[in-house]
Symmetry: D3
Subunit: 256 residues, 6 copies
């Protein structure tokens, strides 16, 4: 399948693609610990792979930019190797990217984000960039919309980081990220402060990830599989493509 | 009931209170349109009133600071009278407040927020202030935890701004905010772009509130009542007080 | 008397008011110690009350915005409870407010300030906001122009903070701020460095307020009265209304 | 007379001087129009010359740094040649200077300022630098303290910029700044908005200098003389030296 | 050969590696047009590949971080697809990276840069990060030190961007970047302003790349080869490894 | 010879000069140690003197602004008396200067810089100011283009700071900067880390000047002379004037 992948194109190819391109997909990842069984570039790689797959589905309307391969990972900073950007830095990077692409006549943008810790920053980035640069900005969590598949296959009460869902996605999209021989269940610190601060609780707050899990995982990565990953990813891509086609009013006949 | 309300205290009274105070409650509101039936200071006033009520329940452990009476309201800026702070400005205000209070030996903070549009900024503020000032920062949406009462009384499929829930809260906490003779149902723009961007959808993005509602309301404010407001507010206060007592490890016997 | 008080208005009421409104009054206060006999919100409350009174006099030309209820109070930071904004934060708040209101077609602004420590910041804010947003910006110290009344009633050689002048203003405008049973004379540190740095001296410089006064007051609050407050406040309002009518070229017949 | 003039010293000479130096004098000027009869560097040059003279009087306790030769001159920007710094830029320059000098063990600073338009910025700089760098910061208007001489010789009701006072100071300190053949009286725009915004008026605000004076001067430069300048300058130096000796607790016997 | 590639490691593997790691290699690239014959990610990919090769030579002392895959490319912004970061953004990204890695006890850093347009920014980043974070910061242009090979094989008078040198490096390190069928000579605008602003000229200045070359290349990419690339790259790696071993005082016996 | 020296002109003279002025020369210097034999203002003074001489040659096309008399001197900060600006501060100063002068209709600028440590900052300033203010920005190292004279007279293998070249320039342009009786050869720390980081080496990095030279000089100042200075300065001025005439397309007949 075709995809306008900006990293692989020459300027003449870009110039040609801009005849049909309606929006840019900016993959946003992170560089952070993913337990003993996943490589630290996990989120960066998954965001990039998802972006390419979405770019294929949205061809010739979408162009995929270079990935933002580090994000807001303060929660994980105490685990060796984690790198975190300040939210203001991430917003600056995205602002510069959108500003540059706007000079090439692209006016609509999707931040395709694989890392939950980036969501608040992307929410603010969408608002401030819309205002400052007079463009249209959307953002999406890569596979959050795969509710049916996730409901069916992901059974851990606490999941979302280096769990069976993420391991599955990686086994489908980038199996080199997974140490299959080392897969572990999250080693949860029961009764910690974090339990009172999870989404849906009355109070939220900042806590470090080691307060929640000794090995850096939650859920149970051992229960992941390539097949589950495929279900989740493809369901999410269906939803993303549908929504974007409507939002951006794309001519369906041209897609694929 | 007693409450340490910093705005009403002299410095000698503050000095005395600090013998027992464990944390500060910082009310965070907004100044923005609330349809034809609520005053624009709605969120600022509700945050302040909730903070006082929570301060009473947490006496002598909590002290309530001046309210942040404007917030991030870019979504509403096209309605006359709305004032919006940039997210960076709100973070600067909160940072200065925490920094000042830390000089008075307060080390734990709750941002008690009445306005959904502030949540992402508060999430980032909690993280960056924790890191920069080495304090403990929590934040909560004032009545979001009143799930039982809201489930029971709030029936509009789309609610959350100048709706029956908010009108009810105001009728209980600050009835002067409500124009009872002018109560209206939200005049929703069906089929707008906003429908595809609501929480839970595959894609999020920034949109202006007039894309969603002609009169600036959602839900149905006519269905609000003081009694519903009391149920919601008191349930939320129960949850907030319980969670904070645990999180901050307060001695229950001293409370009240 | 009527007053356009933005905090109490709905957006439809604001929309209507904008047919005559020529300028916005932005009350600017502070949150800082005011000795053993005044509440810490003193400046915020007085700025707000003065703004309403001025808004009444300038009706239907003026609209009063939410108060900036914290200011630049570094001098007082060592007294319990004081909160200070950095000057850059205060300028950011004012810039966002003016920028928002300009979107509602308001082009002229008065920062009505009750706290001497804010004056330098407001001077710079007036200049930078004028330049950046192409608006007309004025600022005034609430009662500084009441020279006759102050000359007549305020006899302490050193006054200006929690003194007979401020106590009088509060007794007239917001008596709940005053602990009448606790009124004290300023307990001045004679011979301190501060004496050499007062306005009019050859050298100025930053000093902390406790270098000057042990109890946080200057002057003699015991000599204040509601009557003196009324004289000062009403004289100041006369001057402010006169000057603004001229500066903004308001049609006198419409006033009142 | 001796003076530690940092611009003229080698590092070994600086090293030696630091054995007695207690504080640094930072001359702060401006680059702005001074009417048809003074050069635009007027304030920069006068600040520098005054600093040297004060440095002589305070020898061996004071060291004079390079001059800040541009300042906050927005009021004058419409006159050809004027250069203005943003207040934040001037504060950055001063912060960097103090930070550098603190690394050489200097802990006390005087900003010796010749330009009224810088005063608010210096007030804020003194406060923020004191807090950030834990140093002692003073500032002074070069000749403002010469009240006796000014009262005696300066008779124009409106003076302070390229007037007889400033012309006199220049004739004494730096006669090359003055075009004696071109001396003019200020050509005042009577009845302008500026009249309502002068110091002491009920309302202040930003206005451009051409609103006040057609030729860029106020007062009457023709009435200045070298003798008057000498009186003003020497009286001011007396006051500055006296105050600083007290403030910095300098041993008088060492002076001169 | 072994290499500590942080993107591919788990946190436990990072933890182990830190027993010997002495410094981090941060690859810094760009995303910009590279003429009709190279993909726009050229600099990002070459920086990453060089970093891995250098990391192999410096094993077990070096760890390679995620690449900074966009840089300062304002010169190229008018060619379709180019993305440029503001210098302040690039410095913020590098500061956050170094700050994060310092928390993992890494104290020495090499910015390994493939893009000339980043050099000034890296020079400033090295200085400011050294000062702010108290670390040791080095930077190097990937193959600039291969003077012998370049002298021997690169004959175009003007080279350095998508020329025979860069094409050769890519053919050796990442041949997928090159469109071999489309290789072109730079189409130089003779006599343009740029000629007077090249390095070594009396005056420098900012110009856009299209002022210099119509097709976005200089030199003659057709003359590049994998063999030349190998010579250049390996010579550069020799020099880099030698210098770093000395600078960081690494025990030679452990290398490889 | 005539020169438009902005510091010495009145606004009416500036107004007249703008009829022919095509560009502004902004002298950029530094305040930093120059060994035991040169005053610390060396770079500031030399930049200013060179600017005047260049302004004479470019009359009536050039106008010389006030000098930026401090620069980026972090390398020298450990020598007593050195003052350093952060790069962001220097860029802010230059941005404000250009912005001001653009309001007087000047659209082209030359930063004439005497201090190597400023070059990277000026490179970035040229780029960012060009973009932000839509002007044409050039920069030049004062005498770097005098390659013939330098090749002939400067024989030290390591030179460039308080060496025979700089001493010579000063003896010609500003002999008061030189302590002729104290002239010393640079006291070089052989074998230091700095040797591996000099221009042309494989790796660059930040180091402090005392790592390289004990007395703060390099080269051999004793070998300087006024005659050598004259050769270098006049050769450089020839080159600068030639290049600028071409770059700015000045009518030669008007020059001189």
């Amino acid at each position: 399948m075709n995809c306008y992948d900006l990293t692989k194109m020459t300027w003449k190819e870009v110039e040609k693609s801009l005849e049909t391109v309606e929006f840019a997909i900016i993959p946003v990842g992170a560089h952070e610990q993913h337990g003993p069984h996943m490589a630290e570039s996990c989120d960066a790689v998954l965001a990039e792979r998802m972006a390419i797959k979405l770019g294929q589905r949205m061809f010739p309307y979408a162009i995929v930019t270079p990935a933002v391969n580090m994000g807001v990972s303060e929660h994980h900073i105490h685990f060796p190797g984690t790198i975190t950007l300040q939210p203001s830095t991430l917003i600056a990077v995205l602002t510069d990217m959108v500003s540059s692409l706007k000079q090439h006549a692209i006016k609509k943008f999707l931040f395709l984000n694989s890392h939950g810790g980036n969501q608040s920053t992307l929410n603010l980035a969408a608002m401030t960039i819309t205002k400052k640069l007079e463009v249209e900005v959307y953002y999406a969590k890569t596979t959050a919309s795969a509710k049916e598949s996730i409901g069916k296959y992901v059974k851990s009460p606490l999941f979302g980081h280096s769990c069976e869902r993420e391991v599955s996605e990686a086994l489908y999209l980038a199996p080199e990220l997974v140490r299959e021989a080392l897969l572990e269940k999250g080693e949860i610190n029961q009764g910690g402060r974090w339990e009172r601060l999870r989404p849906g609780k009355a109070v939220q707050g900042f806590y470090f990830y080691e307060e929640m899990t000794v090995n850096g995982c939650i859920g149970d990565g051992r229960k992941g599989s390539r097949e589950i990953g495929e279900q989740i990813v493809e369901e999410a891509l269906d939803h993303l493509a549908d929504e974007l086609s409507e939002l951006l009013d794309l001519k369906e006949e041209l897609l694929y």
